[in-house]
Symmetry: C2
Subunit: 162 residues, 2 copies
């Protein structure tokens, strides 16, 4: 990576870290921040909002993706870059894949997060485990009707693929 | 599982499948539905809302978790059961782990979903791959300030652990 380019990425990452730091003081949520950039401009900046919203899905990355998609009026973050103060958890990584940005940059890694009480390794581990052995009891029950929604979707002619 | 208990779970699952089916007709999003139950009562019912909200994180499970947490005024779904019309994707599985319900039941599996164009296997595969080899370019850049938010969090005395 060219030095100048790296400096730009570090500038946006530093903004994400700054959001994380401010967030601790305001008490809105955990010490995490994320910034989404398109064509060199910030389109969304968000921090973890789990405490203030009482919504466990409002991690910084998810909150920033929702904000950016709202602003860009699209369910895809085409040509966007996500900067996260910390390595994303599995939920946020999944959200990032659905949002389809062109790149992800992060600063602190999961070991630093774990050291301060934010351990998402157990979720990474659970994903790799067969569902019968997961810590949250997980059961598949087959229903006669279970494929009907998919069949109707497949047959629908005026649908938007996403 | 006792037959009577299984019938109860199937009843709630059927409700999730019904939401999925209705969702195709209304065009709000993909053919997915989820219901959250506490003490035998439905506290949230939601369908995939990706198209109507243009928010790629608004899968049925995430939407239902957000609704249930709002109603219960808590970032934890203690003693709740999540019923999903289909096996959760990695994002939703992550969200479920953060929400901490006591159980998850689902009907259709990922193979049925993939047959109809909803293939989340690529995200499951990507999670298992080292970040240098992921399809969305993923770069870690170390910043001098990256641990500051965590240190402030750890030092903060009046924080809510989540």
């Amino acid at each position: 990576m060219e030095e100048k380019e790296q400096e730009m990425h570090k500038k946006f990452l530093a903004e994400a870290v700054k959001l994380a730091q401010e967030n601790v003081n305001t008490g809105r949520g955990g010490p995490f921040g994320a910034v989404i950039v398109k064509n060199g401009e910030i389109v969304a900046r968000s921090s973890n909002q789990v405490l203030i919203t009482k919504d466990p899905t409002m991690h910084a990355e998810v909150a920033a993706i929702r904000e950016a998609c709202g602003k860009l009026n699209s369910f895809e973050l085409k040509d966007c870059i996500i900067y996260s103060s910390c390595e994303p958890c599995p939920m946020c990584l999944g959200a990032i894949y659905w949002a389809r940005p062109k790149a992800l940059y992060f600063a602190a890694d999961q070991h630093t997060a774990a050291k301060h009480g934010f351990d998402d390794k157990f979720i990474y581990d659970e994903i790799a485990v067969p569902k019968e052995k997961r810590k949250i009891k997980t059961v598949r029950l087959v229903l006669d009707t279970q494929e009907e929604p998919f069949k109707e979707w497949t047959a629908k002619e005026d649908k938007t693929q996403y």
